[in-house]
């Protein structure tokens, strides 16, 4: 006897049970059922990389209102849409970024430029200027948006360069030729923090976001100093090769600090080990004027003197995303919004520009299916980034001609210096000169 069974497919398994039901899918993961699987996946990765560039339209809009260059930007903690900007003509504007309107407009807040802005608790704004004054303003939304009179005024002895507020206490720190801690209720500084042997101008001061009594500051004599309010002293400082222009503490890793340096690089330092930077970010072709971390701590933005805004990934020191416009001149300040989706930049032409953090992101309601497709494409691009064609499309950036030429020239000059260094090393006796790692050249000395 013979056992015979002939193959058949049950339509009930493969057709929808009721009209309107989704069609059931059957999968067979045997590789023989999927010929050319890798070639097809590579094609999809190539298309994903191309689509990314096709839909990259990062510029969202500009917030106008300032007459002169924008010097400083500050975002309100706990708010997604309130951002304050201060300019060289002494005006301060509080913007609603999502509606692109002014919440408050203060003309002539200071005589001379507004050099620092920060938010205090309960809808109040602090501004400091080169006219040696600190003013406290009311930042709550009101019907009359022009504002003339401050809530309080704190006179100082010299021009202020920067201001930052404590996380929870009613204290703020200012930077002039010394770092001073002020109490909001008192009209004079409650303490001065200096490094014993320093005679510099402090250009920027920032409170640490987790350990809130720790401050970091950068000065004109190429230093980065750490202070503690509780001891009332400067703890440690490092002297670098070139001075820094901005500093930002990492929001997710409390010991990491990012410095934007005059030597076109950005450095991250771990404050437990200040001898060498943990990362060096090379890309700008002129001094980096400002930097800010994304709230996720995985990315940061930097604005440079070379008229470009670059968005970097933490840990990847080359090839950031580059934004530029003909109308945007020197970028003096850049911040991330609190939802990590947008970057705001203030530049010399008096505009505050809003850019998308991910240039090809869709700004609308995204359905679950669309989000799954976007995630799939992102994974594909990541998986195939080593491939020649896919990688080339992803790495390519359009730069304005002056920036491109400057980068080329810089590359040539650095290469010839490296070659000369090597030839010198080749022709010296063994043991006489030891090569220095790039990271170790950054910090000259560390002082306690």
């Amino acid at each position: 006897m013979v056992k015979i069974s002939v193959l058949q497919h049950a339509p009930s398994v493969h057709l929808p049970a009721r009209p309107g039901d989704p069609t059931p899918t059957t999968r067979n993961l045997d590789p023989l059922m999927h010929p050319f699987a890798r070639a097809r996946e590579r094609n999809r990765a190539l298309n994903a990389a191309k689509m990314d560039k096709l839909f990259a339209k990062p510029f969202v809009g500009a917030l106008e209102g300032h007459i002169d260059a924008v010097e400083v930007l500050c975002k309100k903690p706990g708010s997604l849409s309130a951002v304050a900007s201060g300019s060289w003509d002494g005006g301060v504007i509080l913007h609603n970024v999502s509606e692109r309107k002014h919440i408050r407009r203060i003309q002539g807040a200071h005589k001379g430029k507004v050099s620092g802005l920060c938010f205090a608790q309960d809808d109040r704004l602090l501004s400091c200027g080169v006219d040696s004054k600190i003013k406290l303003w009311d930042a709550s939304p009101q019907d009359d948006i022009t504002e003339q009179r401050p809530l309080n005024e704190y006179p100082g002895k010299s021009a202020f360069n920067s201001i930052d507020h404590h996380r929870s206490d009613p204290l703020f720190a200012t930077a002039s030729n010394i770092v001073q801690i002020w109490d909001e209720t008192k009209s004079a500084a409650i303490s001065n923090l200096t490094f014993p042997t320093s005679t510099e101008t402090i250009t920027s001061v920032r409170f640490n976001l987790s350990e809130t009594s720790v401050l970091g500051s950068i000065g004109s004599d190429r230093t980065f100093t750490l202070y503690d309010i509780r001891t009332g002293k400067a703890e440690r400082r490092i002297v670098m090769q070139m001075s820094s222009n901005a500093l930002a503490w990492s929001p997710t890793f409390p010991t990491n600090v990012l410095l934007a340096s005059e030597d076109h690089n950005l450095y991250t330092f771990d404050v437990r080990q200040l001898k060498t930077p943990t990362h060096i970010y090379k890309g700008h072709v002129a001094a980096v004027m400002s930097c800010d971390w994304s709230p996720t701590g995985l990315e940061f933005v930097s604005g440079g003197w070379d008229r470009t805004v670059r968005i970097w990934k933490e840990g990847q020191g080359t090839r950031p995303e580059v934004y530029h416009t003909k109308r945007m001149q020197r970028v003096s300040s850049s911040i991330f919004t609190a939802d990590a989706r947008f970057v705001l930049t203030g530049s010399d032409d008096g505009n505050v520009r809003i850019w998308k953090a991910k240039a090809s992101e869709k700004l609308g309601i995204i359905t679950a299916r669309e989000r799954a497709a976007i995630e799939y494409r992102d994974t594909l691009k990541d998986k195939w980034k080593q491939d020649n064609e896919v990688g080339r499309i992803q790495r390519n950036r359009h730069l304005p001609k002056p920036v491109y030429q400057a980068a080329k020239l810089k590359r040539t000059m650095l290469d010839t210096r490296a070659v000369k260094e090597e030839r010198r090393r080749k022709h010296t006796r063994a043991g006489e000169s030891k090569p220095n790692a790039e990271r170790k050249k950054v910090v000259i000395t560390e002082q306690t």
Partner: protein, 573 residues
């Protein structure tokens, strides 16, 4: 040391991944740990990737439980019974009503018929030699198009699905719509005899009486490649579905393998003593086995990985068998007045004596000649085209039971068909990716032979070296995954005792016996023109040879070394 910075230290010490991001299953064993990589970040990343890959592999193996359908089978219980004694009537009786519909006879007049199934097995296209063309959904019986073309038609194929089909007519190839409306006359394909459609590359290939193999992209309309086979008219064409290589059988017994990128055949084998009539490649082994049949009556099964003789060969009674492999590795041979089916594993195991393999099933067909055999993709059905129409027979166990609905779905509706067509167009692979080995995509490139090193020392500064050379000089180049071409030869198991050679030595061994560029230049200059540079080079080479000879003679002791004398400073070097 300030307490503040210490407290920062303490807080940041215990960082672990949040619970939702930690992997749920325990790490698999046999995961390679990249201990040779010194960079900690890179090593962690590689280890994580390897663990993820091992987990995915385990999941794929588990996914076999999801394959719910079972293949057909025909098992004899007693030793005296044989499977090939069972006729179609018995099989039809044992099969269900739905499966029994597969046993049908189409009585048509219109010359010997050829047939082709669409990729999902739902639609059938038939063409008769006199010009009768029909396409229909054989399961529901819906006729899509029926044409009487009144000229010789030699072959038919569906394009990407049932919405287009191409017919190889007397002079040109014509493309028709689903409803039989003529859309295109492809005048580049002259006197075509056979057609093949490469579905993942959207290429329509044809061979003809003029000996040309032409590839045309049906999505853009461009002719991608035109190859002169230089072997005369060709009447046999088969496609390897796993690497899109076309196998042609010629009238001098030669089988050639072609890709659109090379103007000559990639592989050429003398297979038979007469014209090659039947040709088919096995899809169940990834294109490893190829079956050929000649006018001499011999059927041969070849191993496509090493073309060293046949795996199996036997003689059939009557010449010129039509062959086709099924998705599960069964070979059907239609020769003389009957169709024979042989199954795995016997058809694929090497067998030296020239005896036919054990027969699985046979079916006689009185109408000669038998012109085509086609397996229906996901069914246990074999369709034979003959002089008086077509016959479909049931062959248990040849059809793939579990299909993947994203690749080919017999139950797809209109929306699914449209989506699949668009996705297929987006994923279209360029023809220059077709090679004999399809797995090169995403693999590491072989190490470049270009190096600036002379005797392992570099002349150019370190800063100007390419990246891989720099890593090699520093000693950090990770070459554990690079495979050298030399070591990859199939018979590499005789050299187990040889020391691992350095790259320089390998290069030297390769260059041995080959003319160097200087010698080539001198050979070219050996004409009646006297070239001063050639003369100078010859003189220099002669001097070098003389020096070598002298040095060897001094070593042997047959000549004494020249004693140093005061006049040596006047000697020209």
């Amino acid at each position: 040391m300030a307490s503040s910075v210490d407290s920062l230290f303490v807080k940041a010490q215990n960082t672990t991944l949040p619970k939702s991001l930690r992997p749920t299953s325990p790490p698999p064993d046999n995961v390679p740990k990249h201990k040779h990589v010194k960079d900690l970040k890179l090593r962690t990343k590689l280890n994580r990737q390897a663990a993820h890959a091992a987990r995915s592999k385990a999941l794929v193996e588990d996914a076999e439980l999801l394959l719910t359908n079972e293949a057909g089978k025909m098992q004899v219980e007693t030793e005296l019974e044989r499977t090939w004694r069972i006729g179609q009537d018995d099989i039809v009786q044992s099969a269900s009503q739905e499966a029994a519909k597969g046993r049908r006879e189409l009585k048509l007049d219109g010359g010997p018929y050829r047939s082709r199934y669409s990729r999902n097995g739902r639609h059938l296209a038939i063409v008769g030699n006199m010009g009768h063309v029909a396409t229909f959904d054989w399961q529901t019986g819906t006729m899509h198009a029926e044409l009487q073309l009144q000229e010789t038609c030699r072959d038919i194929t569906f394009l990407q699905d049932q919405s287009f089909f191409a017919v190889a007519q007397k002079k040109y190839v014509f493309i028709y719509d689903r409803d039989g409306v003529e859309l295109h006359r492809l005048k580049a394909h002259i006197e075509p005899t056979r057609l093949e459609f490469l579905p993942y590359h959207w290429l329509l290939a044809s061979v003809g009486n003029n000996g040309f193999l032409k590839y045309q992209d049906t999505s853009t309309g461009h002719i991608v490649a035109e190859h002169r086979t230089k072997l005369g008219a060709c009447h046999t064409l088969a496609q390897n579905k796993h690497n899109a290589v076309l196998h042609l059988g010629h009238s001098n017994g030669v089988v050639t393998l072609w890709t659109p990128n090379i103007p000559h055949p990639a592989v050429q084998i003398l297979a038979h003593y007469g014209p090659v009539v039947g040709l088919s490649v096995d899809p169940s082994s990834g294109g490893r086995y190829m079956a050929t049949s000649g006018q001499d009556g011999v059927v041969k099964v070849w191993d496509c990985r090493n073309w060293k003789g046949t795996v199996r060969e036997w003689t059939t009674r009557g010449g010129g068998a039509e062959l086709e492999w099924s998705a599960r590795g069964a070979l059907s041979v239609a020769v003389g007045g009957s169709v024979n089916v042989y199954t795995k594993p016997s058809i694929q195991t090497p067998h030296a004596p020239k005896a036919p393999p054990p027969l699985y099933l046979t079916h006689p067909i009185p109408h000669r000649p038998l012109t085509s055999v086609r397996f229906c993709p996901f069914q246990d059905i074999l369709t034979i085209g003959h002089n008086a129409g077509l016959s479909s027979i049931l062959v248990p166990g040849v059809g793939e039971p579990n299909f993947d609905s994203m690749e080919a779905d017999p139950f797809e509706n209109k929306k699914a068909r449209r989506e699949r067509e668009v996705k297929g167009l987006l994923d279209k692979i360029q023809p220059d990716m077709i090679t004999l080995d399809p797995d090169f995509v995403g693999a590491l490139a072989p190490p470049t032979k270009l190096t600036t090193a002379v005797n392992d020392t570099h002349d150019i500064p370190f800063a100007r070296l390419p990246r891989l050379e720099r890593l090699r000089v520093q000693g950090k180049a990770d070459e554990t995954e690079l495979v050298d071409d030399d070591e990859d030869i199939a018979d590499g198991d005789g050299d187990k005792n040889a020391k691992p050679q350095s790259r320089m030595e390998k290069e030297k061994r390769k260059m041995r016996g080959k003319g160097k560029s200087v010698k080539r230049y001198l050979r070219k200059q050996r004409k009646n023109v006297i070239d001063p540079t050639a003369v100078a080079i010859r003189a220099k080479l002669e001097k070098q040879r003389e020096e070598k000879r002298v040095a060897k003679a001094i070593e042997n002791g047959s000549m004494e070394a020249r004693k140093p004398s005061a006049l040596d400073r006047f000697r020209r070097p």
